[in-house]
C-alpha cells in the first residue's frame, strides 16, 4: 500500500511580487521516484526548494499554503530539522572545496559538530559511498580534495553527502544536466537503488530520463501543477493537452 509522505495543499510561492508557484496540490507517496517536468521558468526549482525550505534563503522570497511531511507541517518546524529530514542535490555538483572526499561525505555530521566514533564515521562513509557506487573509485583517495573528482563523481559525492544524513526524502534539481551520458546513466541507476530507502523527487528536462526512472510524474506549466499521474499514463495518455503538447515537443 502507498502511504503519503509529502503533501501540499494550495501551496504558493513568490519572489517579491512575482508569483511563480500557484496553488499546488500534490501527494507524494513514500519510496517512490517522482519526476517533475515542465518548460523552463515554470517554477519547478522554486517548488522543489520550498519542500525543504531553501526557498526562503533568497531575500524577498515568500511562500504560503500547506506543505507537510508525515502529516506534520514543514513550515511549523525549524528549517534545520526540515533540511535534515529532506536532503537536496543541486544542478551543479557543489562539494565543499576545502574538504577531503571523506570529510565531504561526513560533512553533515562533522560540520554540524556531531562527534562520532571513528569506526562509525568510517562505516557511514563507506556505506554512503557504496550506495552511490563511488566507493570502488575513490576508496584509495579518500583524503584528496573533493574538487579533484570528475563532474559525475562530484555529483555522486554530493548525493552520498545527502544520503549520509539518512534523510527521508531526497530532492534532486536537474541532477544530471551538467553530466556526460555515462555519468548520467550511473546516476540514473542510483535512483533505482535509492528508492528502497528514500523518496526521491527529481526535477528534469529530459523526458526519456523521466520515463526511465520515475514512478509518477508531475507536469508544471506557468507555475501551476497541470497534471500528476503515473509516469506510464502521463507519457502514453495525458489528460491535459498542455501536457500532450509538451511531451510531443510542441513547445519547450
Amino acid at each position: 500500500m502507498e502511504s503519503t509522505i509529502i503533501k501540499s495543499r494550495n501551496f504558493n510561492a513568490s519572489f517579491g511580487s512575482n508569483h511563480v508557484v500557484k496553488n499546488v496540490n500534490i501527494d507524494i507517496p513514500r519510496n517512490h521516484v517522482i519526476a517533475v517536468m515542465g518548460p523552463s521558468g515554470c517554477g519547478k526549482t522554486t517548488y522543489l526548494r520550498c519542500i525543504n525550505r531553501m526557498h526562503e534563503l533568497i531575500p524577498g522570497a515568500t511562500s504560503e499554503g500547506e506543505m507537510t511531511i508525515n502529516n506534520e507541517n514543514i513550515y511549523d518546524m525549524h528549517p534545520i530539522f526540515v533540511r535534515q529530514k529532506i536532503g537536496m542535490v543541486f544542478q551543479r555538483p557543489n562539494p565543499f572545496p576545502n574538504l577531503s572526499i571523506y570529510d565531504n561525505v561526513i560533512a553533515g555530521y562533522k560540520l554540524n559538530g556531531i562527534k562520532l566514533p571513528k569506526a562509525e564515521r568510517d562505516r557511514i562513509v563507506e556505506h554512503s559511498l557504496t550506495r552511490v557506487a563511488l566507493w570502488k573509485e575513490v576508496k584509495d583517495s579518500l583524503n584528496k580534495k573533493g574538487s579533484f573528482l570528475s563532474g559525475g563523481q562530484q555529483q555522486r559525492l554530493c548525493i552520498a553527502r545527502a544520503v549520509a544524513m539518512e534523510p527521508e526524502v531526497l530532492l534532486f534539481d536537474e541532477p544530471t544536466s551538467a553530466l556526460d551520458p555515462i555519468s548520467t546513466s550511473t546516476v540514473e541507476e542510483l535512483f533505482h537503488e535509492l528508492k528502497a530507502n528514500y523518496t526521491l523527487i527529481i526535477v528534469t528536462h529530459n523526458m526519456q530520463q523521466a520515463a526511465r526512472v520515475s514512478d509518477k510524474t508531475a507536469f508544471f506549466y506557468l507555475g501551476e501543477l497541470v497534471e500528476y499521474d503515473e509516469t506510464k499514463i502521463m507519457f502514453t495518455n495525458p489528460k491535459d493537452n498542455r501536457t500532450q503538447n509538451y511531451i510531443t515537443g510542441r513547445f519547450s
Binding site: 525550505r53 526562503e56 534563503l57 533568497i58 531575500p59 506534520e72 513550515y75 511549523d76 518546524m77 525549524h78 528549517p79 534545520i80 530539522f81 535534515q84 529530514k85 554540524n112 559538530g113 556531531i114 539518512e166 534523510p167 527521508e168 530507502n197
Partner: protein, 327 residues
C-alpha cells in the same frame, strides 16, 4: 537573508528523526542529535542578533565620533563663533584663537602635493592599465607603488627631515628665499610621494574597465595608441580618475606625522610656499597634550571636527563617483 524569523516555531513533532537500525544506541544517538539541534537553533538566533549588533556598532561608532567631536568643540564654538575659522592669529598665551593659518597651511600643502603627484599617478595608471597590464616590469612597478603606500608616515617624515629638508634649504638659498628648509614646500613634496598610490591604483582599475570594443573601434579608424588613450580611454575614465584624485586629496588633508615633522610648526600665516607653517592635523598633534585651557583644547578639537567633516565629504563624493562608474 533571514531564514528563521518567520516560521521558527519549534513543535514537539520535530523530534523523531529517522533511525535506520533501531538499537538502543542508535536511538540514544538520535535523541542526542535532536537535543543538540535545539541548542544550535538557540545559538543561531544569538548569532544573527550578534551580526546585526555588529552592523549597528559601525553606525554608532561613526555617530559617536561625530558627536564627541561636536560636544568637545562646543566651548570653542560658543566663545569663538564662526569667525574662529578665518581668524588670522593663533596665540593661546594671549587667548587668541584663529584657525586661518592652519586652514591655509592645509590647503596649500595638500593642493601643492596633489599638483605634483597627479602627473606621476596618472602615468602609473596609464602604464599599468593600458600600456603594460602584464609582465614582470609592470608587476615590479605595481608592487613598488603598493610599497609606497605601505611605508609608515613617520619614516617619510624622518627621511624628509634628514634628507629632503637640507636639499630644499639648498634650493631656497639658490632662489633667494629665507633658507629654512622645513616648510610647506617640503611637506608638499613628501605628501606628493605618499599619495601617489591612491590615485594610481584606482586610476589603473578604472582604465582597465574601459570596454575594448570602444578602443577597437578607434583603432579601426586608424587612431594611434596615444590618440586612443587621449580620445577614448581618458574621456571614458575621467570621472573615475577624478575620484582617485579626490581620495588622494583626502589622504593628504589628514596626513599627520610626516607633515608635522617637516612643516616647521609655526602658527604664523605662511608668506609663501617655502615658508614654515602648520596644518590642522599637525597643530593638533603638536599642541593637544599641551593645551592647558579648556577653550584652547576645544579650539584644537574644532579643527579636528573641520578635518573630519572635510575628509568625510571628500571621501563620500569619491566613493559615490566610483560606485556610479563601476555600475
Amino acid at each position: 537573508m533571514d531564514t528563521s524569523a518567520k516560521n521558527s516555531v519549534i513543535t514537539r513533532s520535530d523530534l523523531p528523526l529517522r533511525v535506520i537500525n533501531s538499537t538502543p544506541e542508535t536511538i540514544a544517538r538520535a535523541q542526542k542529535k535532536v537535543r543538540r539541534s535545539f541548542r544550535q537553533i538557540r545559538t543561531e538566533t544569538v548569532f544573527r542578533r550578534t551580526l546585526t549588533i555588529m552592523g549597528l556598532i559601525m553606525i554608532i561608532l561613526v555617530l559617536g565620533i561625530l558627536l564627541t567631536l561636536i560636544i568637545q568643540s562646543l566651548p570653542s564654538i560658543k566663545s569663538l563663533g564662526l569667525k574662529y575659522l578665518w581668524g588670522k592669529v593663533w596665540d593661546p598665551v594671549q587667548d587668541i584663537y584663529g584657525a586661518w593659518p592652519f586652514l591655509l597651511g592645509t590647503l596649500l600643502s595638500s593642493f601643492l602635493a596633489l599638483l605634483i603627484s597627479i602627473p606621476f599617478s596618472l602615468a602609473v595608471a596609464i602604464f599599468l592599465g593600458e600600456y603594460f597590464p602584464k609582465g614582470w616590469m609592470p608587476d615590479f612597478l605595481k608592487n613598488a607603488v603598493e610599497l609606497i603606500a605601505a611605508v609608515p608616515s613617520v619614516i617619510y617624515g624622518f627621511w624628509g627631515l634628514a634628507v629632503l629638508v637640507p636639499i630644499v634649504r639648498n634650493l631656497e638659498n639658490h632662489i633667494g628665499v629665507e633658507p629654512v628648509g622645513v616648510g610647506i614646500f617640503s611637506s608638499s613634496l613628501i605628501l606628493a610621494i605618499m599619495i601617489i598610490p591612491y590615485a594610481a591604483s584606482l586610476g589603473r582599475s578604472m582604465i582597465q574597465m574601459v570596454p575594448s570594443p570602444l578602443k577597437e573601434a578607434a583603432y579601426g579608424l586608424g587612431a594611434t595608441r596615444w590618440e586612443v588613450i587621449r580620445s577614448v580611454v581618458l574621456p571614458y575614465t575621467k570621472s573615475g580618475l577624478f575620484a582617485g584624485v579626490l581620495l588622494s586629496l583626502g589622504r593628504a588633508l589628514g596626513e599627520t606625522m610626516a607633515v608635522t615633522m617637516v612643516i616647521g610648526n609655526t602658527s604664523l600665516i605662511p608668506k609663501n610656499i617655502f615658508a614654515p607653517g602648520n596644518t590642522m592635523a599637525s597643530v593638533i598633534a603638536n599642541e593637544f597634550t599641551e593645551a592647558d585651557k579648556p577653550v584652547y583644547l576645544s579650539a584644537l578639537i574644532e579643527l579636528g571636527l573641520v578635518l573630519f567633516l572635510v575628509t568625510v565629504v571628500i571621501n563620500l563624493i569619491g566613493k559615490k563617483i566610483i560606485d556610479r562608474f563601476t555600475q
